[in-house]
């Protein structure tokens, strides 16, 4: 069963098409990297896959479930790293993570484990607003993988991270195995080099339309740069 199957996905914003006619199929355990200029629809695509936006036309199946009819079946199986960290600034990192853990039915040990793995433990009890952007991003990553999702949706996940932090984060969101299941990932990226390196499948969006869809091996950084022209 493919992890993601899109057929003619259309999502409108008023009279404009934020996404018009996206087709693709992503197998389990694979990584799809989405390129495109700002406003091309990358974030919209991610939000549709996360069940936060309803498709207006077309068929969307994520992890075998049709959206929007069965979106409830997907909740708790998808992890999202968005532009905003989705954290309450006045609460500490630990409190934020404990809150999300409760919502997902995850125990406190997992929070503790993630705080350690991401080297946040010594700042874990200070309000998030006092943390640097890099640290906040790390906490956001922890929030996203807390419940060991089958599908990771990542909007420029390495933004604001220094190389040391990237190394800490990569095992959690990089291609890999989580409790015997390979991670399926959709990553929005502006970095052709790194993006291509991680991709199995590449989608290039422009003005909501799929301008490019190919296996990673068949795409050059040149073609990706074309998208931004």
């Amino acid at each position: 069963m493919p992890a993601i199957e899109l057929t003619g996905l259309v999502r409108r914003y008023g009279e404009r098409d934020a996404l018009s006619g996206v087709d693709l199929s992503l197998q389990m355990g694979r990584t799809l990297v989405v390129f495109g200029p700002n406003g091309a629809g990358k974030t919209t695509l991610l939000r549709v896959l996360a069940t936060l936006l309803r498709p207006h036309e077309g068929d969307v199946r994520v992890l075998g479930n049709a959206i929007p009819e069965q979106d409830w079946a997907l909740r708790g199986r998808v992890g999202l790293i968005a532009h905003e960290p989705l954290l309450y600034r006045e609460l500490t990192a630990r409190e934020n993570l404990r809150f999300h853990a409760r919502l997902h039915g995850v125990g406190a040990e997992r929070v503790h484990e993630l705080l350690e793995r991401l080297a946040i433990t010594d700042r874990a009890d200070e309000p998030v607003r006092t943390l640097s952007r890099g640290m906040v991003q790390r906490v956001a990553v922890a929030r996203a993988v807390l419940h060991q999702p089958e599908l990771l949706l990542l909007d420029e996940p390495y933004a604001n991270l220094d190389p040391a932090a990237v190394e800490l984060v990569a095992p959690l969101i990089g291609a890999g195995i989580d409790s015997d299941r390979p991670r399926t990932r959709v990553i929005c990226s502006h970095d052709p080099g790194r993006g291509l390196a991680e991709a199995d499948l590449v989608l290039g969006l422009r003005g909501g339309r799929p301008a490019l869809l190919a296996q990673a091996g068949a795409v050059s950084t040149q073609e990706i740069a074309e998208l931004y022209r």
Binding site: Y13, E15, D17, R209
Partner: protein, 280 residues
């Protein structure tokens, strides 16, 4: 879509209104206490009834919108509420004139219907600013529908609450519609019919105008809009050639999102009534 039957409706409205006016001025008896001024009752009360029903109808249409997510229900709900607001304003004005004439004050608090009407009016006046303050058209429609349902439920509840709080027990004229003498009853019913027809006709006009405008916009976009969209290579089997867009952008053929309504609404209601040629 909305133009059908518009001419027949307009004609019947004009006929009904003429007949009602004729009855009001020449047939209905002169009220012993209030004299000629009492005839405002034939305008004021039907306006109130139609307006209130319109608000509730707006709520019901909004429920349909939330259930089906079809924008056309949002359009209808919007127009119903918008028109009811106008009729509501007319209600308040005629009520005020009547109050001044009958009791010497431009406003009286012991007329519970009028008072609860004022509250409802103040609530619905926020409908358009609410719509206007939300940019995402789909969310705008959804939030507006939530408001319309809440406010629609509020109308009867508010009416009851205000009635209960009214400390004056002697029956008001408004409450006396059930024991009107024959000639007054007939005039009243005809007025009610006329104003209902007026409401429905004006709603239909506004819907037709909006719908047509939206279709024109959609056509214009199709003609000029999507020229330079993403040309490119794709592994998907749709077979494109360089330079052509991957696929034509799907245009909604039906009524477009009513995001236009927020800005244009203020003027269109008055245009609708005077531009029969433009519609259907």
């Amino acid at each position: 879509m909305y133009g059908k039957g518009l001419r027949a409706l307009s004609i019947s409205t004009v006929l009904a209104m003429t007949a009602a006016l004729a009855l009001v001025f020449f047939y209905a008896p002169l009220d012993a206490e209030q004299g000629f001024l009492q005839k405002i009752f034939y305008v004021h009360v039907p306006l109130a009834i139609v307006s209130l029903c319109g608000f509730v109808a707006g709520g019901l249409l909004a429920i349909q919108h939330l259930r089906t997510r079809d924008a056309k229900w949002d359009y209808r709900s919007y127009v119903a509420i918008h028109m009811s607001l106008i009729f509501g304003l007319a209600t308040l004005i005629t009520g005020s004139i009547w109050a001044k004439g009958s009791w010497g004050h431009w406003w009286v608090w012991d007329e519970p219907t009028l008072v609860s009407f004022l509250i409802v009016f103040l609530l619905y006046v926020t409908y358009q600013p609410l719509r206007f303050a939300i940019e995402d058209p789909e969310r705008q429609g959804r939030y507006a529908s939530v408001f319309a349902v809440t406010a629609g439920a509020f109308v009867p509840l508010n009416f009851i609450a205000v009635r209960m709080s009214s400390s004056f027990l002697h029956p008001r004229v408004l409450g006396q519609t059930s024991n009107l003498p024959g000639s007054m009853a007939l005039t009243f019913l005809l007025s009610l019919l006329a104003i209902t027809l007026l409401y429905v006709t004006m709603c239909k006009y506004e819907l037709a105008v909006k719908h047509t405008r939206a279709q024109v916009r959609a056509l214009r976009r199709r003609l000029e809009g999507h020229a330079a969209a993403g040309a490119g290579r794709s592994a998907a089997p749709s077979g494109l050639s360089g330079g052509a867009p991957a696929r034509p952008a799907p245009i909604a053929p039906g009524p477009a999102q009513p995001e236009v309504v927020a800005g244009a609404a203020g003027t269109s209601a008055f245009k609708a009534g005077s531009a029969p040629g433009a519609a259907g």
